[in-house]
């Protein structure tokens, strides 16, 4: 017993000695050994320099696009005639962030965009072909999102406005997301409401007399949306054009999941209800008796699109980005969309991405081509958006995001350029080229 006791004490002393064996400073030579390694001297930040709550600009994005199209099924001329359109759009997104007292991250996104378009068919809102051909749309937006510092769950609100001469839209949303316990999955939910107003600009043959005045002159609405006195007098007290409401309510669901270290998928579904004035007043329809009228569609619509995204990292330099969507609505349209983008990573900071998208849809039950409708039809449109067709969209993009910044400018962290060609089997063809600049 005594031997065992002494052995334990001896062993513990040896262990203790070993524990201190490497801690003794070798004072035999005070010269530092030769090394190429130069440790970076880190200076502790002064307390006043570090403020996790401070408001900072996280990201600024500038996006510009030029779009041009041609076709021969304009809805303004009843399903025949030019569909020539050009559109130049510019958008600025500013993302600000700060951290709150409870370590929650706040992100404020402010957006402003404007489009200027020209549309050859708009000229034919008047029978003379001399109507307004261009227009500008402005669309500011706002979003505030709070992210829980511990769980990564988010909650946010957003607001949106869009205005152009014949259409105004005001929108708002609530959204939240919740990560799974292992942080490999995320559920997201968003509620959106858009309250729109369509200005009632009719084709010139349906121009309405609005206000007879005591002098005998009358206010009339021209095809281009101007209100003038019929006798050419002053328009200082002109009445505003009447509008009709169009409301859209959407509930969006999403669930993303990491399947393995190379594959992740996301399921998306929207439930959309629209009601109000869902036609456009300047879209003509020609009946089979040769007479024309304006488009008439039901005052409600229910839409259900469901989609899936799957992104796969193939090898070390290729990423496959795929998407599929099935769509149905209560106007009788069924549609399938499938797309694939192959990202070739030339280097970690440069990639080239060719893409292809195929889309097909069945016709809405209210669609018929030029002079295809009967006067006994309850609803009618010759807008080819509701026709049976398929389309193909293909092109390529290039993305540059070097660590020292684009062109050596540290704050200019990302540059993307993308071109696409779109063709429907209804003879509509279009092209779009986009540029995105990202700053941090």
């Amino acid at each position: 017993m005594k031997k065992i006791f002494l052995s334990i004490i001896g062993f513990s002393l040896i262990c203790r000695l070993n524990a201190y064996a490497q801690t003794k400073v070798d004072t035999s030579n005070n010269k530092k050994p030769f090394t190429l390694y130069q440790p970076i001297k880190e200076e502790a930040p002064a307390p006043e320099d570090y403020n996790p709550r401070s408001l900072r600009i996280e990201e600024i994005n500038l996006i510009s696009s030029y779009y041009w199209q041609n076709g021969d099924h304009s809805a303004i001329t009843g399903g025949i005639g030019t569909e020539k359109v050009t559109d130049l759009s510019n958008g600025l997104d500013l993302k600000l962030a700060w951290t709150g007292d409870n370590s929650n991250k706040n992100t404020l996104s402010l957006g402003f965009g404007f489009d200027h378009h020209s549309s050859a068919s708009s000229a034919y809102v008047t029978t003379t072909g001399l109507g307004k051909q261009g227009g500008t749309r402005l669309y500011p937006s706002f979003d505030w999102t709070v992210e829980n510092g511990k769980t990564g769950n988010t909650f946010g609100i957003g607001a949106y406005y869009s205005g152009e001469y014949n259409y105004k839209s005001l929108g708002a949303d609530l959204h939240f997301s919740k990560k799974t316990a292992d942080k490999n999955g995320e559920f997201s939910f968003k509620l959106q409401a858009y309250l729109d107003h369509v200005t009632l600009i009719y084709p010139s043959e349906f121009v309405q007399v609005i206000t007879p005045v005591s002098t005998g002159a009358t206010y009339i609405t021209t095809a281009s949306g101007n209100v003038v006195l019929s006798n050419g007098g002053s328009t200082a007290s002109k009445p505003s054009l009447p509008t009709k409401p169009r409301d859209t309510y959407t509930a969006s669901f999403g669930y993303s999941q990491i399947v393995n270290s190379r594959l992740q998928v996301m399921f998306l579904a929207d439930v959309v209800a629209q009601n109000g004035y869902l036609s456009l007043p300047f879209h003509r329809v020609y009946f089979n008796n040769g007479k024309d009228t304006i488009e008439k569609l039901p005052s409600s619509r229910f839409k259900l699109p469901i989609g899936i995204r799957a992104n796969y990292f193939l090898g070390d330099n290729i990423i496959l980005r795929s998407y599929y969507r099935y769509y149905l609505d209560n106007w009788g349209t069924r549609a399938n969309t499938a797309s694939l983008e192959v990202v070739f990573k030339i280097s970690p900071f440069l990639s080239i991405s060719p893409f292809y998208r195929y889309y097909t849809q069945t016709a809405a039950r209210y669609f018929a081509p030029y002079e295809g409708h009967s006067t006994s039809d309850e609803y009618y449109t010759s807008n080819y958006e509701y026709a049976k067709f398929n389309s193909q969209f293909f092109g390529a993009g290039i993305r540059i995001a070097p660590p020292k910044g684009v062109f050596g400018w540290q704050n200019f962290h990302e540059l993307e350029i993308r071109y696409g060609h779109y063709a429907q089997n209804t003879n509509l063809v279009s092209n779009v080229i986009s540029l995105s600049l990202g700053f941090k």
């Binding site: 996006i63 696009s65 779009y67 759009s89 958008g91 669309y139 949106y160 869009s162 152009e164 014949n166 259409y167 292992d182 942080k183 490999n184 959106q192 858009y194 309250l195 729109d196 369509v198 859209t248 959407t250 969006s252 999941q257 990491i258 399947v259 393995n260 992740q264 998928v265 998306l268 959309v272 629209q274 456009l280 839409k303 699109p305 989609g307 899936i308 992104n311 990292f313 990423i319 969507r325 769509y327 609505d329 106007w331 349209t333 549609a335 990202v343 990639s351 889309y359 849809q361 958006e385 993009g397 993307e416 993308r418 779109y422 509509l428 279009s430 779009v432 986009s434 540029l435 995105s436």
Partner: protein, 73 residues
């Protein structure tokens, strides 16, 4: 019949893939966290989605707009 078979096959494949999900640690997500792997639209695609919603009846389920803001569906 052919269409429903395809849907069933796709469903079974999807269910199989989902049931084989593995739990990854943060340090194992270097590929998943690549910016090109993001399960969202590219910023540069924004206006493409806009014109598609003007020209086609279908929209939504792509984290984009489902109506409002323009004279389109």
């Amino acid at each position: 019949m052919k269409s429903s078979s395809l849907k069933w096959t796709a469903g079974v494949l999807l269910a199989t893939a989902m049931s084989s999900c593995v739990q990854l640690k943060e340090y194992q997500k270097n590929r998943i966290n690549d910016s090109e792997m993001a399960l969202s639209n590219r910023k540069v695609e924004k206006n493409e989605l806009n014109f598609q919603s003007y020209r086609e009846a279908a929209s939504g389920a792509n984290a984009g707009k489902t109506g409002g803001g323009c004279g389109c569906n």
